[in-house]
């Protein structure tokens, strides 16, 4: 799966949260990071180039700070000019149909305020309706949004947990089950095993991978037993 991460932030170097997440991702064959303000400081978007990028990827993600319940202006402008009739929708073209689309939002206010009774009144699901409608109109599969609230107040351990979820949003199949997360993590640990220079570290990675697989067999075995018991 190839992921296109479209980032919009007018002052990205000054944003500690954007830097934290973006520095953790390496571009490779399956991962393209595209910072709009960096590519188009004059707002003159190369439409053909953008449409070609979209065609080359399977998962399209928008990452931006949630400003006044919406996105920074350039990503809106990008939508206006790139997602045109005949390319993204309409009789003559539905080039994005079947791709996945998701939002990665950096939010300065606490999660609990985004609900009835909270200071922001509406939920993120309500406030992001235009993006959901865009995915719907273009035939894309809308992923659950990845929301990061008040990054600056996070403890170190929370930052690590959120970083794993961020990487999963970028590269894991759209299935948050334990089995799917195990599979994804095993693939990452196998890469670390290949690069491990210390044989002791390599051993530990190997043990960890085999324990995760062994536990999966146990869980699957127990599931069979439970299913049989429930049938009787």
């Amino acid at each position: 799966m190839k992921t296109l991460l479209i980032v919009s932030h007018p002052d990205i170097l000054e944003s500690s949260s954007q830097q934290f997440f973006l520095r953790s991702v390496k571009e490779n064959h399956d991962m393209t990071i595209h910072h709009l303000e960096g590519a188009y400081p004059d707002y003159r978007i190369d439409i053909e180039k953008e449409q070609a990028l979209l065609k080359q990827h399977d998962r399209i993600l928008f990452q931006f700070p949630f400003y006044w319940y919406s996105s920074p202006p350039l990503i809106k402008h990008w939508q206006d000019v790139v997602l045109e009739d005949g390319f993204a929708y309409g009789e003559r073209g539905k080039m994005l149909s079947g791709k996945e689309f998701g939002l990665i939002l950096m939010i300065g206010i606490s999660a609990r305020e985004y609900q009835a009774g909270g200071t922001e009144l509406f939920s993120i699901n309500e406030l992001t309706k235009p993006f959901q409608a865009m995915a719907h109109k273009t035939g894309m599969i809308y992923l659950k949004p990845f929301t990061i609230y008040q990054f600056a107040y996070m403890e170190e351990e929370q930052k690590m947990e959120v970083l794993i979820k961020y990487w999963q949003m970028l590269t894991m199949e759209n299935d948050p089950s334990l089995a799917s997360r195990e599979k994804w993590l095993i693939a990452q640990l196998e890469k670390m095993l290949q690069n491990a220079s210390d044989p002791h570290d390599a051993n530990i990675y190997e043990y960890a991978i085999s324990l995760i697989k062994e536990n999966r067999n146990t869980i699957d075995g127990l599931k069979v037993v439970l299913d049989q018991m429930q049938q009787h």
Binding site: R181, I212, L222
Partner: protein, 60 residues
Amino acid sequence: MDEEEWMLQELQRMFDKRQDYGEAVFIKAAQDIIEEQGKRIYQMEGEIDGTLWSPKRWGE
């Protein structure tokens, strides 16, 4: 010490000495998923025990 506990300790030792932040994050993720699996196994075994000892089966 059981296998899970030993594994978690070894991963913690690696986590503590790790200099690369990304690697540390994956080591922590491995610890978390092993713990989550352990919990899942415990709950499923509990469910099997509970079903076996259910009063519904006392009459059987």
